[in-house]
Symmetry: C3
Subunit: 318 residues, 3 copies
């Protein structure tokens, strides 16, 4: 594997999943694979799960890790070609990415969307800038429109706990107090479409995902009907793609409750975390045995490890 910024970078999904399951069973099986190699983690936005799990994954492979919190250190990058840089942006991505690529064998990059400029966000300027100029493999730690490390961990979790070959997986929109990116639902849909599951997406009207993601996906505007017979309920808030970045609804009727979970096929509750309790999902669900959110978060380590392993194995000197 060269880069890991979307599911399209995965040539053999089944092999990657098997590798992730193997990493979980025996995290130290390849504990020297990354020796004397450095993973640089560049955060334009805050991170807890992604940061810790990716650091841990790298450590299991013997890699060194360097973390840069770009945002909090006020170092803004220019992404525009030909820009006359007389504003507040101190460096062009052409130099910044190329330089970091000199210091690290692999770079992880996290960069959230503006939620203001849809075109810029969906052009993935930050992630593309690093892919184009770093000269080393790039791992997305969540970009403007995707969160593939999360999706891989989600798929692992579904594989571990499914009780039938082709489970029904429901992605449900849920309310939130802030306008959130579409990266997690986009990515989840993108991965579920190539996995062996029956995917249904449910959300209020106006919350349709971008065409490149929603194409071919079954949408059900009636949440209760979507839940019927589901094996997995994946809850997530996102802001509108059409009326870009806005909150169209905060309707508490969309919160995931025990009552709704009762409609499922003893469905498991999933969420990428952090989750707003009693806004997105009620305590009774999150504190019940049906909730698998902590297992899902734990699976972030083997997921990241499988990705790093695949990339390390493809490095020119490997």
């Amino acid at each position: 594997m060269r880069h890991f910024v979307s599911v399209r970078d995965v040539s053999d999904l089944s092999a990657l999943l098997q590798s992730a399951h193997a990493c979980k069973r025996d995290p130290l099986a390849h504990k020297t694979l990354g020796q004397h190699k450095t993973l640089g983690l560049i955060f334009f936005n805050a991170s807890m799960r992604t940061r810790l799990s990716t650091q841990r994954a790298a450590q299991n492979l013997g890699m060194s890790v360097i973390v840069m919190n770009v945002g909090s250190e006020g170092w803004q990058l220019e992404f525009q070609d030909g820009a006359i840089m007389n504003g507040d942006k101190a460096e062009h991505v052409k130099e910044a990415a190329a330089v970091m690529g000199q210091y690290c064998e692999i770079l992880g990059v996290r960069s959230f969307p503006t939620l203001k400029d849809r075109e810029a966000d969906y052009a993935e300027r930050v992630m593309e800038g690093f892919v184009n100029y770093a000269g080393v493999p790039i791992v997305s730690l969540e970009s403007a429109t995707r969160h593939p490390l999360q999706s891989l961990a989600d798929l692992m979790t579904i594989e571990e706990l499914k009780t039938r070959p082709r489970p029904k997986v429901v992605l449900t929109w849920a309310p939130h107090v802030r306008a959130l990116p579409q990266a997690v639902p986009n990515s989840f849909v993108e991965w579920m479409k190539v996995a062996d599951v029956e995917l249904v997406v449910t959300h209020p009207e106006g919350y349709e995902l971008a065409p490149e993601f929603s194409e071919g996906v079954q949408v059900e505007y009636e949440q209760n009907r979507a839940f019927e017979g589901a094996d997995f309920i994946y809850a997530k808030n996102w802001s509108s793609y059409q009326d870009y970045g806005t909150i169209l609804s905060t309707d508490p009727e969309w919160m995931v409750t025990q009552e709704k979970m009762a409609l499922t096929n003893e469905g498991k509750f999933m969420h990428c975390l952090p989750v707003r309790r009693n806004i997105v999902v009620e305590d009774a669900v999150l504190d019940s045995p049906a909730s698998i959110v902590i297992r899902e978060a734990a699976n972030r380590v083997p997921a990241a490890q499988a990705v790093l392993q695949a990339i390390l194995s493809s490095l020119p000197d490997a």
Copy 2:
């Protein structure tokens, strides 16, 4: 040892102290004990000594360390059961602690008091939240009401330099420009009470420590009388417990001076640092051979190392 959040977690203080002294003599004696294990350090507040010394201690044991500065990354936790999370708190400690416990074998947590809500502070909601939900051992890196790693290093230092079996140890309040927590004096008193020392606490009226700490402790409101014949002077400012979190006095007469040190039994001067020069203590004391503050700070490494070693040795797979 399971957790290390107060002296009550130490079943055999003498053994822990011996281990700390041994760590100082030979820091690398157990250099692979922590191999392939990760210590997560979670800072809700800034830290220099605690952070560096604990990192160094972990490195001496072969552990990997991951540092999270929670505060500066603006990620606020909810600690209230049943909260409807529609405010500025993005995650409940139930999830946050449980997830971090999936990524790290041991978690260190620093969280200062509010100094506004006494009940909440003394309930130790943050530390207790992590103890209850992380599923892994928790090491206090200073909590709302205690700083046990500091106290262990303090006791080590006293043991190293005492000239008689039962030294007289005086904890003296000193002025400061800001309202400071009671964690260090609380903890110091808590540890000295179980150590073989004669403890005297001196402070202006109104600065009595919380009953659970001050109970059974000799208080002397006349600073000069307290200093008489002392072997160790431990200076520290704290804000009032009774009139919670307020500054009742900034009286410069309470500053530790050469003149007052002359009343002691060639007493040594201690402070946990950072210290305000010429406010808490005058230069003449701090720059004299009687000052042992740097040795005291250096002892933070073996103290932390002994604690980590004890916890590592108690891990299920150890």
Copy 3:
């Protein structure tokens, strides 16, 4: 080598350069030299290249690294002797440096100038404070008046690419939107003066460097004439030393262009980065084969590694 804060700390420049070239050829030749030793990196100001390259260099030597971002954690130091510390400075450098020296075998320190108080800046109070009180070797990660790790990498790069024994090296001032330190040009001049090059400095009048640096250096106020026959063009903005810290000119005529590069002896373009495109230098130069800025940045790793190696080899227990 004991400290590395200016070129004066280098007793044998030729040996240091050879060591740096050797580190580049075989970065892991001394991969256990720094084992069980810790490098503390103390940043009073933000850093990308210096931080990443120095961390990488330390890792290549088997050292552990601890990074402290002092600035962003709001921990201000007092540097004045005898200060009554009742302001916003929580700790004196006497304690802070001494304590950090207890936890780390080597300390790296970055501290920019105020650009307001010339005397204080040129007295190098921060760097000198650490040199005086830490008790361990100090490596400058850029101080108020110098950036020696950058200069060493610059000199390495010139040695690698020079086409004649004594190349003509031109340091040219270039415009910028912000008032920048004189550390990089000061240091560059200081290093070039002891290297085997023909150095010419060109800048608008009023941008003369401090006498201790500019003494004996050929200054040419006509940029085009300076460029004639140059083998290396080193561009950099700086604020005025005379009218301290101010911007005297933003004249776009001083931007480095293809047209000006044509006056050189097929000269290479250098810059320490980050660089403002189309302000300091036009895209056509930076994107041409004549630009060696990425190689220059890459050389920061072997430069830092050679310095750390020299210091490690001089430690008492080495």
